[in-house]
Amino acid sequence: MPDTVLKLHGITKRFGRLVANDDISLDLRRGEVLALLGENGAGKSTLVSILFGHYLADAGDITVFGQPLAPGDPKASLAAGIGMVHQHFTLADNLSVLDNVMMGSEPLWLAFTRKRAARRRLDEVARQFGLSVDADARVGSLSVGERQRVEILKALYRGARILILDEPTAVLTPQESEALFVVLAQMVAQGLSIIFISHKLAEVLRVSQRIAVLRGGKLVAQAQARGTTQAQLAQWMVGHAIDVPRRRPAPHAGQTVCELRGVSTAPARERLLEASLTLRSGEIVAIAGVSGNGQVALAELLSGTRAAIGGEVHFLGRPLPAEPSQLVAQGVARIPEDRHAVGVVGDLPVWENAVSERLRSTAFSRGFWVRRGAARAHAQHILSAFDVRGAGADAPARALSGGNMQKLILGRALLHPASTAVHTVTPRLIVAHQPTWGLDIGAVAYVQEQLIAARDAGAAVLLISDDLDEVLTLGDQVAVIHAGHLTDARPATAWTREAIGLAMAGAPAGMTQPVEVAA
């Protein structure tokens, strides 16, 4: 008789008019991995935040190991045995691993810290679950995989019996993900129960015993993993049958639009090292890789916000212009990775954001003065052509939802002021950095369609994505980035998942027989 360790009953949470969680009831059994599946915005993060005490539910109750859980208090959740590994690690870079792990585990009124005992316990826990780590290392110096291990150890150190993992493989290579799954199996063997949040269908089926699907705040399905298909999961997630994205081969590649030869950027958190790449019109070149390996450097280099210190970058036969305004004027369309922090200036109105890149051009300014009429007109054009909803032209840009904000950014990048209904001016080069991150399936499809359409109209597209499926589906040519080095670009059909995984981890890529792409 599997005993229930966790019972959520009727959990409801509203943020203003948005119902993030709608009367959700769920069980978790001992030694089980329950996957929580859903699109972005479906309510998964909200639900586990309530469980962990970051948020207070408006209705419903939670029972842990038979005892009611005091709501809205991380301390209570921790004491009840719930631990959480956040998607964005909550670690202090300037402190040591030991400090990060033990912080908060001792009462604050104590006059001294029992460091030796803490160290011993950390070693014990690490051994028990097969996670090795250097207790005195400064967290800021660790790799992403190691930092995740520290994040997991934090929870295990506090004696968590129920562990919540929020999109844990988002930052790992396929091989590192495998290693994580081994650790999860260890935990389950020791009697822990796990809630595994993901939006990756294949992974969910592989790792979990049971799957709960959330859609629009409601629990729409629960099923055993055995016997369920990806298509079934996708249908539950979206509410209707959808086509699994198919490859649409490029008509033919044209001239070279942009070329990198042995480019290096200055040492920093991420950099490029002697990277070479050719971008041709009418072709999508997709860069696969675990985020943190230099993608930011590559994107910023071609966006005008980072300089090369070695090698050459050519655009249309001439050296790449150094400044964003010049790049935009010459036909480079940029979609940044972080739409909130870099893509728009949140406090400024939508219409100003819509023309921000081209403000210095004669289209929207006459010397000192802004041509407000022309600017507002173009902004309206973008809003209607790209179906940007949720806020008017004068509302601050931060009022837009993620999907609408991305559509605004897309429209700003792709819609040229001189384009008319009859004659569209297509960008020469599109630099798209994680363009579908954090979007729901509908918005993802929209963005991908726009990129493909631009390619078909002759644009050269550079797509940087940590979603391997997206890379292999959209990319005509695929290269892998690791520690700042770029592999040669090969046709997407010439890569296998293993080969890409190895390249992502830095192993030299060998040639293998071509195998079908869909996982």
């Binding site: 870099v342 949140g346 921000s356 403000l359």
Partner: protein, 354 residues
């Protein structure tokens, strides 16, 4: 205790906020009046009367408001770009010194043969430049080296004041002032004319109003204005959009410093005629309060300046009559700042007790 963002912000609340804040401040200050042993209503009555109750009172208030408008604009421009210029006091004195250097220090140089309009323009330019350069240093240190500009601009205030003292003791000393530390006087023709006869209100008021309008137009209608607002709101996103961030911050610093420098020059040319060590009772710092009260709106700065000036002038007059120390004005101004901050926040967020 938690803050929850409100979904609709009524325009009514936006206007009510500063008014409510000031009212709350008055209530709290009333306690201080009681402590001083004076009747509250009479005190406030005298305060209002002293600041706004007669043509004379109004003229004094307007006169006092002139440098405040300029330092308020200086703070507004800088804070819009998240450049925390706390050095307006020093920039004001630097401008005053530069003005007197160009407009007064002439014996034997032949400089006084230059036609007056040109000399006047040069004088103002020198003052603006002095203030501009003084702030440029800290601004560049912030951009290039990451040095917090709050502390550097603050420390510069003390340095500039000592410099002024040095100048007043030496090269710029007025030989006819019988040992009193004041500078050489401006040539009479360079002084600003009076706007209203028999009062001290001078044409500096027109300068102030005009510059306020200019700053407003700059922010709203020009590319530089957009650059400034973008850099202040999100410098990373601004850089991505092609805004030249370092150049914008440098321009902001020069504009802000220039405005504060002009405040000094206009005080000298309109009110005093020469520089003394105590010519500014903290106008630079008051400018910051005014900028916050006006929610960084250039036109609101004019209103806020008149308010603060009225309180300061009224307190002087009230103090002479009843004896409540003039510092109550400073308390009212400081408390208004805090109350307005809180009130404005409450229009955007709701407080939730867990």
């Amino acid at each position: 205790m938690r803050l929850e963002k409100r979904h609709r912000q009524s325009a009514f609340a936006l206007v009510l906020a500063p008014v409510g804040a000031v009212a709350f401040t008055m209530l709290v200050s009333a306690l201080l009046v009681l402590w001083a042993g004076a009747p509250v209503t009479r005190t406030y009555g005298l305060l209002l009367q002293g600041g706004f109750g007669s043509v004379f009172a109004l003229s004094e208030t307007l006169t006092r408001a002139i440098p405040l408008i300029l330092t308020g604009l200086a703070a507004t421009v800088a804070f819009k770009a998240r450049l925390f210029n706390i050095g307006a006091e020093g920039q004001l004195y630097a401008g005053a010194l530069a003005a007197v250097a160009v407009g007064g220090l002439h014996s034997g140089t032949g400089f006084d043969q230059v036609p007056m309009p040109l000399l006047f323009a040069l004088m103002m330019l020198a003052a603006a430049l002095a203030g501009a350069l003084l702030l440029l240093g800290p601004a560049l240190m912030k951009q290039r080296l990451g040095v917090d500009e709050v502390v550097t601009t603050l420390l510069l205030n003390f340095i500039v004041l000592l410099l002024v003292s040095m100048m007043l003791d030496g090269p710029m000393k007025d030989p006819t002032a019988m040992g009193w530390p004041q500078s050489v006087a401006l040539i009479g023709d360079l002084e600003l004319s009076k706007l209203i006869a028999q009062t001290r209100v001078h044409s500096g008021l027109l300068w102030g109003a005009g510059l306020a309008l200019g700053v407003w137009a700059l922010m709203k209608y020009t590319v530089l204005g957009f650059d400034i607002r973008a850099v202040g709101a999100n410098a990373r996103a601004a850089a991505f959009a092609g805004v030249p961030v370092t150049r914008t911050v440098a321009l902001v610093a020069m504009l802000s410093g220039a405005l504060a420098g002009l405040a000094g020059a206009i005080e000298v040319a309109g009110r005093t005629g020469y520089v003394t060590l105590d010519m500014s009772p903290g106008y630079g710092y008051s400018g910051i309060v005014i900028a916050m009260l006006a929610a960084l709106h250039p036109l609101g700065v004019v209103l806020a300046s008149v308010f603060v000036a009225g309180v300061l002038v009224g307190a002087d007059s009230m103090s002479r009559a009843i004896g409540v120390p003039t510092y109550i004005a400073d308390v009212i101004v400081a408390a208004s700042l805090i109350s307005v901050l809180v009130a404005t926040l409450l229009t955007q967020y709701r407080v939730r007790w867990k």
